[in-house]
């Protein structure tokens, strides 16, 4: 770098630039006023919005605190960054887990009743559940010692009935990832809390089964979620193996 270039860099830091106004409120108001996109477009935008928000979060800069950057949506899941997490429920008992996951069924029954083509790993799950919102759960391990949870949820029932709301603390790292070309998020670090809001607005604490890393993505109208004690690379390998 020449002396002139160095002088310009120093100069740039001393140019009188007014303090940036808070743009989030106005931008959100302008977005609200805009034409309501059609459903498919809304979906595309919601998925894409993840990229914007997740990048802000990945960089983990404290100023990324405006409403514009604090909410993520993907596959019907809404993830909010919060300053303080609610208390996380203790480790689940078998009963808790079954209450949360739904009715225990055979794999064949799940295939028949899912209403969409279930994706499966080479390894057969130890337990299968049919849950609310049409979610099919594969549990690997035992309820007391879950190795891996796989959730597959058709999107059509999401917005009408339930909203899954995750509260992620400031220490939760949220990274945008691509799973076979579909955008997704990898959540790691500090625990996050999952709340399920039903159509009446009642909150069901779903965090009992949650405490580990999570990979969420969406493909062909189905939201996928992997939860387990894995790193990002392993999660992505598992996601790609889910066929």
């Amino acid at each position: 770098m020449t002396e002139l270039e160095r002088a310009l860099t120093v100069l740039g830091r001393e140019v009188d630039v007014p303090e940036a106004p808070d743009l989030a409120v106005v931008v959100l108001a302008r977005l609200e006023r805009g034409p309501r996109p059609r459903t498919r477009r809304r979906l595309a935008l919601a998925v894409a919005f993840v990229v914007l928000a997740a990048l802000a979060a990945t960089l983990a800069i404290p100023e990324a605190r405006s409403a514009f950057f604090r909410v993520f949506e993907i596959g019907g899941e809404r993830i909010e960054l919060v300053d303080e997490l609610p208390a996380v429920a203790p480790a689940p008992t078998e009963l808790d887990l079954e209450l949360v996951l739904g009715e225990r069924v055979t794999l064949d029954k799940a295939r028949g009743e899912a209403g969409f083509d279930l994706r499966e790993l080479d390894e057969v799950p130890d337990r299968v559940y049919l849950g609310s919102r049409g979610t099919v759960w594969f549990l690997f391990g035992t309820p007391e010692r879950v190795r891996l949870l796989v959730a597959q949820t058709p999107r059509h029932s999401f917005a009408q009935d339930f909203m899954l709301k995750k509260l992620a603390g400031a220490g939760t790292r949220i990274e945008p990832v691509a799973v076979s070309g579909s955008p997704g998020l990898f959540l790691s670090g500090e625990p996050h809390v999952v709340l399920l809001l039903d159509s009446e607005g009642q909150v069901v604490d779903e965090s009992a089964r949650l405490a580990q890393q999570v990979l969420v993505w969406e493909n062909d109208g189905v939201a996928y979620r992997l939860e387990g004690d894995f790193d990002k690379e392993k999660a992505l390998r598992l996601a790609r193996a889910l066929r």
Binding site: P21, V47, L52, P176, A178
Partner: protein
């Protein structure tokens, strides 16, 4: 975080606080609408800044000229904000004012590339994205702009 860099970019390109705020706001709205076209994994900042810079250029064209940039006065440094660096102090206020005046007199193309590279401290790749030109063009424009600036300062 993106708000600050978006506003700073727009301000340095327009020299007007009102235009910068408007350009940054519109840039965010347009970026949101354009997100489906954003390639996951691509660097986000230059993509956003290019949209904001386009908005800033539109406003600058409407105003027909860019307001001149000014140096902060010593009193204008908010508490806790970066005070003039030791290098900045060494550069001397008079020299800095001369240099900024020379930058202000450059034509739009030269000023934009120097603004991106040195005032916004963007890399050549980022600058290419923001200005919508190739990296080689950024290199050649920067070299020419620096030469013209050096000549102007030496006069």
């Amino acid at each position: 975080m993106y708000q600050a860099i978006a506003f700073r970019t727009a301000y340095l390109l327009t020299g007007s606080s009102a235009d910068a705020e408007d350009a940054a706001q519109t840039g965010f709205v347009k970026a949101w609408a354009a997100l489906p076209r954003f390639r996951p994994g691509a660097p986000f900042r230059p993509w956003l800044l290019r949209i904001v810079a386009n908005e800033a250029h539109n406003r600058r064209r409407s105003a027909r000229r860019r307001a001149e940039l000014q140096l902060r006065t010593t009193a204008a440094y908010p508490q806790g904000d970066a005070a003039p660096s030791p290098e900045g102090a060494a550069l001397g206020r008079e020299r800095r004012e001369e240099l900024l005046a020379a930058v202000n007199r450059l034509d739009e193309r030269d000023r934009d590339v120097l603004t991106c590279r040195y005032f916004l401290e963007l890399s050549e790749d980022e600058t290419a994205d923001v200005l919508g030109v190739r990296r080689g063009t950024v290199k050649s424009r920067t070299a020419r702009a620096l030469a013209r600036l050096a000549e102007a300062v030496e006069r």
